[in-house]
Symmetry: C2
Subunit: 252 residues, 2 copies
Amino acid sequence: MDDSGPYTRRSALPWLVGASQMVGVASVVLTGVWMGHFRGGFAWDGSAQEFNLHPLCMVLGLVFLQGDAILVYRVFRNEAKRNVKLLHGIVHLLALIISIVGFVAVFDFHRSAKIPDMYSLHSWCGMATLLLFSLQWVMGLLFFLFPVASAWLRAAYLPVHVFGGVVLLVMAIGCSLLGITEKLLFSIMPTYSSFTSEGVLANVLGLLLVGFGVVMVYIITKEEFRRPPNPEEEALTVHFKTLTEGGAPPTP
Amino acid sequence: MDDSGPYTRRSALPWLVGASQMVGVASVVLTGVWMGHFRGGFAWDGSAQEFNLHPLCMVLGLVFLQGDAILVYRVFRNEAKRNVKLLHGIVHLLALIISIVGFVAVFDFHRSAKIPDMYSLHSWCGMATLLLFSLQWVMGLLFFLFPVASAWLRAAYLPVHVFGGVVLLVMAIGCSLLGITEKLLFSIMPTYSSFTSEGVLANVLGLLLVGFGVVMVYIITKEEFRRPPNPEEEALTVHFKTLTEGGAPPTP
């Protein structure tokens, strides 16, 4: 958002990034504690312990790492854009791989336990998010890392890519909250309303994920935190062109 | 977001607003059909029919009307800011009143049916959203309609108000999806996985709400759709000052 007040200073960035990382790591840890301590730990054998990998992978991959992949543009504001772009793509690839493992875990568990797939709102939203996230990653790779598209197309796609990234992060968080609610009602419906520790822990996890989303979107959309324009960046298109054409890139 | 591509034209605004209204109205209608047809209709007697008012009020008030209250700044871009500001406050007030009716409905039903309150993630997120929404409305009234705050404070609060508004709209949609999931698992858990019409209808409602959110946030944050700066607006502070001081406002 560009309506930044005149009283916010850029020095808030490190504190906000620190807060986002604390909340993000706490979310991943809490998911691990929930599945590890309350739900019997992890395995890869089609059992409920294999299902337990699903929440952990989704919170780690599709929420935390997806957020951090976007954040690299704000944290490394003054590094060479080429490196930041590569890091953005690599962290997103890691997020994608971990998310796919999380998806395989739940489908594999469903097959073993003879539970139908894809009937719930959580599954519909989650599948849409993962498919759009994969599409966004491939498009980003083609348009920006190996620019096969023309400058015109790249310029037209950039705002869609940026807006889509924020939407996907928020959707991933929304899907996580749906998953938390589903898991609690499937597992502890009779005791959930008596404020058992598992229910409270999972609710707190939900609030942490909302907090992670709010801080991340604030950092990402705040005008002062954006990368300053750099005339050198114009030359980078040519730089990457040499990569796609097989030539050696010049020394930066 | 200010990273608008050079190829998006402002003429897209009416189409996007039209799409948002179609999806928004469809969401309200679908909620009404779900509660009216599948869940036995509406009443105000502490029964399950009183609960049924809760989803309808929340989708109508906290989602659809909250979104439209924000949208007035984009739809009436060239009207006098005073009028647009008043309309923004009035539609938000309507949203607030309808949301409070929705909250009373569910607490009243819980009391009659002896169901505990405030234990689920949906209730935590929903309560946080309504409280923050009420706070935001009161702050907006004090800061912008009856400016008791200094120009310095108003300028500092404006970006928080704008960012907070978008966050609250997205939170309201997220809470609705949690509510849909809760309601389905409480009501039709044994048949949800066999793709019954009620389950599919509620899932489609969830997707429509996501679509409403995406289109709304796109319109709200797109730089070209913002209100153009207007030197006349400076004078409006004085104009409203006269309201708070009891003097008659000058004719616009």
